[in-house]
C-alpha cells in the first residue's frame, strides 16, 4: 500500500483546535492581582527617558510635574493637590498597563530560563571528546548527546536517531523523534535526549539560540514598534499638538473674557490632560505586548510584531493539504463489491485481510468493517492455523491464508497481478470501480479471494482523504473575512480537485513543487495581496521567507525556522487561521480604543468649559448639562474619570476586544456602536457619578 509518509507526526482527533461556529479568539488571562504585582515596575517606568517614547503620556508627565510645583507653592489649596494626585495616578496607571502586559511575559521567560541552565557539552575533537561549557560552543562544532543529556545548543542531528523531550519549550510532554538527514533533524538547545545517542552539529551561536530569542521575545525586550503602531502614534501626537494649541491659546482668550482667575495653570493642565487621547496613549504599548502574548499562549512565537500585524492583513492563506485540511492518513470510506458478491462478503474479506496490516490505512479498514458493516472485531489469535501475510512496502499487499481460502488486499496493480498469477480473471466490473474511485480523488484498494472457485476479485475498498471536521465552516468564515484559501498538495490535479471541493477551499495547487509554491506566492504578492503559509522542510525555506507571514513548524528544520517569521511550537498548521485572527484582533483593539478615547472628549468639554467660563459668561452654565456640583468638582471629576478609565480598560487592552470573524461592514457597525457611541455616552455617566461621590466628601459638597 502506498501512501505518503507524513514528515511530521500528524495531529489527529483535534480537528481545528476549537469547535466551528462558536470558535472565537479567546482573550488572554487577566488577574487583577497582576496590577498590584506590577506596581513597582510602573513606578520605575516614570523615568522621562522611558516616558518620552509615548508622546501623549509624556505630556501628562510634564503636566504632573507642573501641577506638583504649583501645589507645593500653594500648599493650602486642596484642589491643586487633588488634581496633582490624579494626574500622577494617570501617568502611573498608563505605566501599570504596560507593566502588567510585560509581567505576564516575564513569568514565561523565567520558566524558559530554567531550561537554559548551564549545560556541559561533549564536544567532538580530532582525538575524541572534551567537555566544555555550552556557552563556549561555536557554530560548526559537533557535540555528542546521549540519553539524559540536555542538548547544549541549537543544531542539526548529523548522526543517529533519538527520542527527545521538548517539553521545556513546547509544553508537550510526549517525546519526539529526531534523526539525521531529512526534515526531522533539527534539535533545540535546552531540550533533553531521552534515549539513544546523537551527534549534533551546532548551527547557532550561544546567546542567539532559539530559547534565547524566545526569552527576549516573551519579555518584550526585543519589542519594536510596528508600522501601524508608529502611524497611530503620529496621529495621536498630532491630536495632542492640536489640543495643546487649543489649551495654550485659551489663556489669552480667558483673560479677555474676564475668566483669568478660573483658568489657573492647574485648571488648564487638567483640561489638557483630559483632552489629549490619554486612554489610547496609555494602553497602546500594552495592546501590542498583549497581542504578542496571546500568540505565545497559543505556543506561537512571532519573531517580530510586524509579522503579527501582517497576519491581520493576510488575504491569501496557503495551507498544506495533509495534516492541515485532511487528517494525516487516508481512511477507508466504503466497500464496493463487484457483481456477484455481497457487501457483507467483501467486508468480511477486507477485515480478515487487513488484520495483518498495521498501517493507519489498514487499521481504518478494520474500523470501517466494524462500524460501517457491523462486523465483530477479530484478532489474529482467534483463527487457528491461519497464516498471516503482513503488509510490506515491496509487496504492497496484506492478507491471510486460512482453511483453504487465500485472501489478499492491496494496491490495485499488486492484487491484479496476484489474481492473474493464479489463473483467475479480473472482472470488467472491478476495473470500472477502480477507475471511478480514482476519478473521485480516492485511492482504490482491491480485495481478492482464491478458494475452490478459483482466484477472483471481490471488490474495491475506497480509501479517501478525510477532511477534518469543521474545516468547511472555517473556510467559509475566512471567505467572509475576505481571505482566500489555497490548498497545496503533491496529489494529482484530479485528487486535489475532489478534496478541494469537499473541504471548500477556494483554490488548490496540485503536484506542487517548492518552486510552484514560490511562484504562487510571488504571483499573489504582485497583485498586492499578503500571503501566509506554513512549512517545515528545508525546501519550504525560500517560500517561508518570501511569504508575508511564514509560520515554521517547530518539528521542522532549522533552515525553515530561520526563514519563517513565526514558529509554531505545537507544529499545528491549522493554527495559521488563529494567527490571522489574533492579528486582526490586535488592530481592532487599537482602533476601538482610539475611537473610544477621542469620543470621550466631548463629555469632558461639557464638564470643564462651563466650569471655567460660567463666571465670565453666565450663559455658558447652560452647557453644564450634567448638572455638576461646582467648578472644582466638575474639573476634578473629569480628571478622575480620565484616570480611572485607563485602569478600567486594562483588561480589555490585554484580552483584546471580542472578535468574531465576519465581513468588514458588520464588524465596523458593531465596533462603532460599542466604542464610538459608547465612548460618547460613557463619560457623561461616569463624570456625573464621580461628581456625585465627590460631593459626599466633606469640604467639597
Amino acid at each position: 500500500m502506498s501512501t505518503i509518509t507524513p514528515t511530521r507526526p500528524p495531529k489527529t482527533g483535534e480537528p481545528t483546535g476549537r469547535p466551528a461556529g462558536t470558535g472565537r479568539v479567546g482573550g488572554g488571562l487577566f488577574d487583577p492581582r497582576q496590577l498590584l504585582a506590577s506596581f513597582p515596575d510602573a513606578i520605575r517606568k516614570l523615568a522621562p527617558r522611558v516616558m518620552v517614547k509615548s508622546p501623549v503620556m509624556f505630556v501628562v508627565l510634564v503636566g504632573s510635574v507642573v501641577t506638583t510645583v504649583l501645589a507645593v507653592r500653594n500648599p493650602g489649596d486642596w484642589f491643586g493637590w487633588a488634581i496633582t494626585a490624579w494626574l500622577w495616578l494617570t501617568t502611573v496607571f498608563a505605566n501599570l498597563a504596560e507593566a502588567v502586559a510585560e509581567g505576564r511575559g516575564k513569568a514565561q521567560a523565567d520558566t524558559l530560563r530554567k531550561a537554559k541552565t548551564d549545560t556541559v557539552a561533549r564536544r567532538v575533537t580530532k582525538t575524541g571528546e572534551e567537555r566544555v561549557p555550552g556557552t563556549e560552543l561555536h557554530v560548526g562544532d559537533l557535540v555528542v548527546c546521549e540519553a539524559g543529556d540536555v542538548i547544549p545548543g541549537d543544531g542539526d542531528v548529523v548522526e543517529g536517531v533519538a527520542s527527545v523531550d521538548e517539553s521545556a519549550i513546547t509544553g508537550e510532554s510526549a517525546p519526539v523523534i529526531r534523526e539525521s538527514g531529512g526534515d526531522r533533524c533539527a534539535v533545540t538547545g535546552g531540550t533533553k535526549v531521552l534515549s539513544d545517542r546523537i551527534v549534533v552539529k551546532i548551527t547557532t551561536k550561544p546567546g542567539e539560540t532559539f530559547i534565547d530569542r524566545m526569552i527576549s521575545l516573551v519579555e518584550g525586550a526585543a519589542r519594536q514598534k510596528t508600522p501601524n503602531e508608529i502611524a497611530l502614534n503620529i496621529l495621536l501626537a498630532s491630536l495632542t499638538i492640536v489640543f495643546l494649541l487649543a489649551v495654550v491659546t485659551l489663556k489669552p482668550f480667558a483673560i479677555y473674557a474676564g475668566a483669568d482667575e478660573q483658568t489657573s495653570l492647574i485648571v488648564l493642565t487638567a483640561l489638557l490632560v483630559c483632552l489629549i487621547p490619554t486612554t489610547i496613549g496609555a494602553l497602546l504599548s500594552a495592546i501590542g505586548i498583549a497581542g504578542m502574548d496571546r500568540l505565545v499562549q497559543r505556543n506561537v512565537l512571532a519573531m517580530s510584531g510586524r509579522a503579527v500585524e501582517a497576519a491581520g492583513d493576510v488575504s491569501t492563506l496557503l495551507l498544506d493539504k495533509t495534516g492541515t485540511i485532511t487528517l494525516g492518513n487516508r481512511q477507508a470510506a466504503e466497500f464496493v463489491p463487484v457483481r456477484g458478491t455481497t457487501a457483507a462478503e467483501l467486508a468480511d474479506a477486507a477485515q480478515l485481510s487487513s488484520l495483518a496490516d498495521e498501517t493507519p490505512e489498514g487499521r481504518s479498514i478494520v474500523v470501517l468493517a466494524k462500524e460501517g458493516y457491523g462486523l465483530r472485531e477479530r484478532h489474529q489469535g482467534e483463527l487457528d492455523g491461519a497464516e498471516w501475510i503482513e503488509f510490506t512496502a515491496q509487496t504492497r499487499m496484506s492478507g491471510v491464508d486460512v482453511g483453504g481460502r487465500k485472501i489478499r488486499k492491496g494496491a490495485a496493480g499488486s492484487v491484479v497481478a496476484w489474481v492473474k498469477e493464479r489463473g483467475g480473471t479480473v472482472s470488467e466490473d472491478a476495473r470500472a470501480l477502480t477507475e471511478r474511485i480514482s476519478q473521485a480523488g480516492g485511492t482504490p484498494l482491491l480485495v481478492a479471494l482464491e478458494d475452490d472457485r478459483g482466484a477472483r476479485v471481490l471488490g474495491v475498498i475506497h480509501l479517501k482523504d478525510v477532511v477534518k471536521e469543521g474545516m468547511r465552516e472555517r473556510f467559509d468564515e475566512l471567505r467572509r473575512m475576505g481571505i482566500r484559501t489555497v490548498m497545496i498538495t503533491g496529489d494529482n490535479p484530479l485528487t486535489a480537485r475532489a478534496i478541494a471541493e469537499e473541504a471548500g477551499v477556494d483554490d488548490f495547487l496540485a503536484e506542487a513543487t517548492p518552486e510552484d509554491k514560490m511562484a504562487l506566492i510571488k504571483r499573489e504578492q504582485a497583485g498586492g495581496k499578503l500571503v501566509a503559509m506554513t512549512g517545515d522542510g528545508t525546501n519550504d525555506a525560500p517560500a517561508l521567507a518570501q511569504a508575508d507571514v511564514g509560520v515554521a513548524m517547530n518539528t521542522g528544520t532549522s533552515a525553515a525556522k530561520e526563514a519563517g517569521n513565526m514558529v509554531d511550537l505545537d507544529s499545528d498548521p491549522t493554527k495559521l487561521i488563529e494567527i490571522v485572527e489574533i492579528g486582526k484582533q490586535l488592530l481592532i483593539t487599537r482602533g476601538a480604543l482610539t475611537t473610544f478615547s477621542i469620543a470621550n472628549d466631548v463629555a469632558k468639554y461639557f464638564a470643564i468649559i462651563p466650569a471655567m467660563f460660567a463666571v465670565a459668561y453666565p450663559s455658558l452654565d447652560k452647557l453644564n448639562i450634567m448638572g455638576l456640583h461646582s467648578p472644582e468638582s466638575a474639573i476634578l471629576s473629569a480628571v478622575v474619570f480620565n484616570a480611572l478609565i485607563i485602569i478600567a480598560l486594562v483588561p480589555l487592552a490585554l484580552k483584546g476586544v471580542r472578535y468574531r470573524p465576519s465581513g468588514a461592514d458588520a464588524m465596523l457597525r458593531r465596533n462603532l456602536a460599542v466604542y464610538g457611541l459608547g465612548g460618547l455616552v460613557a463619560p457623561f455617566l461616569g463624570i456625573k457619578l464621580i461628581d456625585m461621590l465627590l460631593t459626599l466628601i466633606p469640604g467639597i459638597g
Binding site: 508600522p227 501601524n228 508608529i230 502611524a231 497611530l232 503620529i234 496621529l235 499638538i241 492640536v242 489640543f243 494649541l245 487649543a246 495654550v248 491659546t249 485659551l250 489669552p252 483673560i255 479677555y256 473674557a257 491581520g312 492583513d313 488575504s315 471567505r479 473575512m481 475576505g482 481571505i483 482566500r484 504582485a526 497583485g527 498586492g528 495581496k529 486582526k584 484582533q585 488592530l587 481592532i588 487599537r590 482602533g591 476601538a592 482610539t594 475611537t595 477621542i598 469620543a599 472628549d601 466631548v602 468639554y605 468649559i609 467660563f613 465670565a616 459668561y617 450663559s619 455658558l620 472578535y659 465581513g663 468588514a664 461592514d665 464588524m667 465596523l668 462603532l672 466604542y675 464610538g676
Partner: protein
C-alpha cells in the same frame, strides 16, 4: 407665501439645479483632466510660458510648479497695486500702501479674497480686471490642479507621477472656468448686474446730498468670484450690492455658482478612481453637512424671538430685504462651507448661533463642499483619517481606494490637519496678548472676540469673508492675515502633494470582503462624525467664548 416656505422652495430649486449639472459637469472635468489632446490656444500658452504640457511630474516637481506660479502671481499683483497711481484706467485712485498691497496680493493668489480695502474707493479698472479677476481664475485653477493631482495619486499605481501642473492649470482655466463664466456673466447681466468700463457717477440721493456710483466689469468678475470660490467683491458691500447681485434670482444663481464645481468634483473624483460610488460617498458627506448647516442656520435665524425680530419676521438686521432670511442664510452657509467668502449679508449681525455656524463652517476646513479643488482634497484628507481609525476597527491595516494608509501617509495627513488650527488659534491669541490689535474691534465682550476669531478663521481657511465690525486695515491685521492666508493655502498643498506622491508609488491592494467599504452610507456617517468631532474639539473652547456665549445668552 411664508418666508420659511420660500426658503424651502429656494433650497429645493438649488438642489435640483445642482443635481442636474452634477453628472455632465463632473464627467466633463474628468475628461478635461484625462485628455491627451491640447487645444490650439492652450498650445500658444504653453509656448509662451515655455512649458512642455506632456511631461509627467512627480510630486516635488508638481509642487515646484504650484509654488513658483503662485510666487510670481503674488509679486505681479503686489507690483500692480503699488504702481496703480501711474497706470491709465485707474479712476484716479492712488497706489496701494505696501502692507495692504501685500495683504491683497496674498489674498487673491491664495484664493481667499479677504479684502481690507473698499473696492469702489481704492481699485481702478486695471487692478480689478487685469489683476484681481485674473487671479480669481488662476488661483481657482491651481486648487483644482492640486485636487486632481491627489485624485491621480489614488488612481495611479507604481509610478509616483501626478500629471503636469501647467497642463492642469491651463485646462482648468480654459476648458472649465472660462466657458461657465461666459455663460454665467450673461445670466447675471440679464438679471441686472452691470458690465462696463465707465467712470464714477455722482448720483443724487432721495434724502438730499449725493453719492458716487462706480462702473466696472462687474458681472464678469462676479461670476468667477462665485464659480472659483474666490469671494472678493468688486464693491465693498460684495454680493449685497445691487450692481453685483441685483435680485433674488441672481442671488440663487450665485449660490448655485458657488456650489456647482465643488460638488461636481466628487463625480470627477469617482470617474478618475474608477468608482462612481466612491464619489457618491464623498458627495454624501459634503451634502449631509451642507444641508445640516443650512437647516440649522434657517432655524436659528427664523426662530429668534423678540419684538423687533417678530415685526421683521426674524433676524433681519444686516440682511437685504430682497433676499430675506432664507436667501441670506442659504448664501452665508454656502459661502462659509466653501472657501468663497462672498457675502450678501453681514455675518456679524446674525444671531449668536448663526454667526457661530458661519465660523464653524470655515473651521471644519471648508470641505462641505469646500473651495474648488481645495474642498475635495481637504475632504479626502479627512477620509484618510477616518479610514485610518475605522480601518483598524475592521482588523486590517487601513486602506483607502486600494492604497495603504501607512506611516508616511498618516504623517502627511496629520500635518495637514495641524496647519489651520495652529494659524487660527495662535494668531487670534497673539491679537489678544498684544495691546493694539484689540483696538480694531467695534464690539466688546463675546461679540468682539468673535470679530477677531472670525478674521483669522476666514484668512487661514482661505475663506475671505469678514464678520464686519473689525477694522482690519492695520499693519498687524494686514500682515498677519496675509501670512495666515499664504500659509493656510500653500502649506496644506505641500502635504497634499506629498501624500499624492506617496499614494501613486504604492501598488494597489485588492478589495476583499474584509476591506472597509468606503462607498457605503456607514462610511459617510463615520466621515461626518470624524469631521465634526475633530474640528469641533479643536475649536470648542474658542467658540464657547464667542458665538456660544452669545447664542446661549439670548
Amino acid at each position: 407665501m411664508s418666508p420659511v416656505l420660500a426658503g424651502v422652495l429656494q433650497l429645493l430649486a438649488l438642489v435640483a439645479a445642482l443635481g442636474l449639472s452634477y453628472r455632465p459637469l463632473g464627467d466633463h472635468m474628468a475628461r478635461v483632466y484625462s485628455s491627451e489632446k491640447h487645444l490650439r490656444p492652450e498650445k500658444w500658452i504653453y509656448k509662451a510660458i515655455g512649458a512642455n504640457p506632456s511631461v509627467e511630474m512627480r510630486w516635488p516637481a508638481y509642487l515646484r510648479g504650484v509654488l513658483a506660479f503662485s510666487a510670481v502671481s503674488v509679486l505681479f499683483l503686489y507690483l500692480l497695486q503699488r504702481v496703480q497711481g501711474s497706470l491709465p484706467g485707474s479712476l484716479g485712485f492712488v497706489s496701494i500702501d505696501p502692507d495692504q498691497a501685500f495683504n491683497t496680493a496674498a489674498s487673491f493668489v491664495a484664493n481667499t479674497n479677504w479684502q481690507s480695502y473698499y473696492g469702489e474707493q481704492a481699485m481702478g479698472h486695471v487692478v480689478q480686471t487685469g489683476g484681481l479677476a485674473v487671479q480669481n481664475f488662476v488661483s481657482a485653477a491651481v486648487g483644482m490642479a492640486v485636487a486632481v493631482a491627489l485624485v491621480r495619486g489614488f488612481a495611479r499605481s507604481r509610478t509616483g507621477e501626478l500629471g503636469n501642473f501647467w497642463a492642469d492649470l491651463v485646462r482648468g482655466t480654459i476648458r472649465i472656468l472660462l466657458p461657465i463664466s461666459v455663460i454665467g456673466a450673461l445670466v447675471l447681466v440679464a438679471c441686472g448686474a452691470i458690465q462696463n468700463f465707465s467712470g464714477i457717477h455722482e448720483v443724487g440721493q432721495f434724502g438730499g446730498g449725493t453719492q458716487q456710483w462706480n462702473g466696472g466689469a462687474v458681472a464678469s468678475q462676479e461670476v468667477i468670484k462665485e464659480l472659483g470660490t474666490n469671494g472678493g467683491g468688486y464693491f465693498n458691500a460684495n454680493s449685497a450690492h445691487p450692481f453685483e447681485n441685483p435680485t433674488g434670482l441672481s442671488n440663487l444663481f450665485e449660490i448655485y455658482l458657488i456650489l456647482v464645481i465643488p460638488f461636481a468634483l466628487t463625480r470627477t473624483f469617482g470617474r478618475m478612481v474608477g468608482s462612481i460610488k466612491q464619489g457618491y460617498a464623498i458627495l454624501g458627506t459634503m451634502a449631509a453637512i451642507w444641508l445640516g448647516f443650512t437647516a440649522l442656520m434657517m432655524w436659528t435665524e427664523f426662530a429668534h424671538h423678540g419684538p423687533a425680530f417678530d415685526i421683521a419676521g426674524g433676524a433681519m438686521e444686516g440682511k437685504e430685504t430682497r433676499f430675506g432670511i432664507a436667501g441670506s442664510s442659504l448664501f452665508s452657509v454656502a459661502t462659509t462651507l466653501t472657501s468663497t467668502g462672498a457675502v450678501n449679508s453681514f455675518h456679524s449681525s446674525y444671531t449668536g448661533f448663526g454667526g457661530g455656524l458661519t465660523m464653524l463652517g470655515m473651521q471644519l476646513g471648508e470641505i462641505a463642499p469646500g473651495g474648488v479643488g481645495s474642498g475635495l482634497y481637504g475632504m479626502l484628507i479627512m477620509a484618510v483619517i477616518a479610514v485610518f481609525i475605522a480601518g483598524l476597527m475592521v482588523g486590517r491595516t487601513p486602506e483607502y481606494l486600494g492604497k495603504k494608509i501607512g506611516t508616511r501617509e498618516i504623517k502627511f495627513a496629520a500635518c495637514y490637519i495641524l496647519v489651520t488650527p495652529a494659524l487660527v488659534l495662535c494668531f487670534t491669541a497673539a491679537s489678544f496678548v498684544l495691546d493694539t490689535p484689540a483696538n480694531s474691534m467695534t464690539n466688546s465682550g463675546a461679540h468682539g472676540f468673535s470679530e477677531i476669531l472670525y478674521a483669522f478663521t476666514s484668512g487661514a481657511n482661505n475663506n475671505g469673508s469678514a464678520f464686519a465690525g473689525l477694522n482690519a486695515d492695520t499693519q498687524w491685521f494686514n500682515s498677519t492675515i496675509g501670512i495666515a492666508m499664504l500659509l493656510g493655502r500653500f502649506l496644506p498643498m505641500v502635504f497634499v502633494l506629498a501624500l499624492a506622491g506617496s499614494l501613486a508609488e504604492q501598488k494597489p491592494v485588492p478589495e476583499t470582503a474584509g476591506t472597509l467599504r468606503t462607498e457605503k452610507p456607514l462610511f459617510t456617517g463615520l466621515l461626518v462624525g470624524t469631521i465634526m468631532i475633530i474640528a469641533g474639539l479643536t475649536y470648542f473652547p474658542a467658540l464657547a467664548l464667542g458665538p456660544l456665549a452669545e447664542g446661549l445668552a439670548a
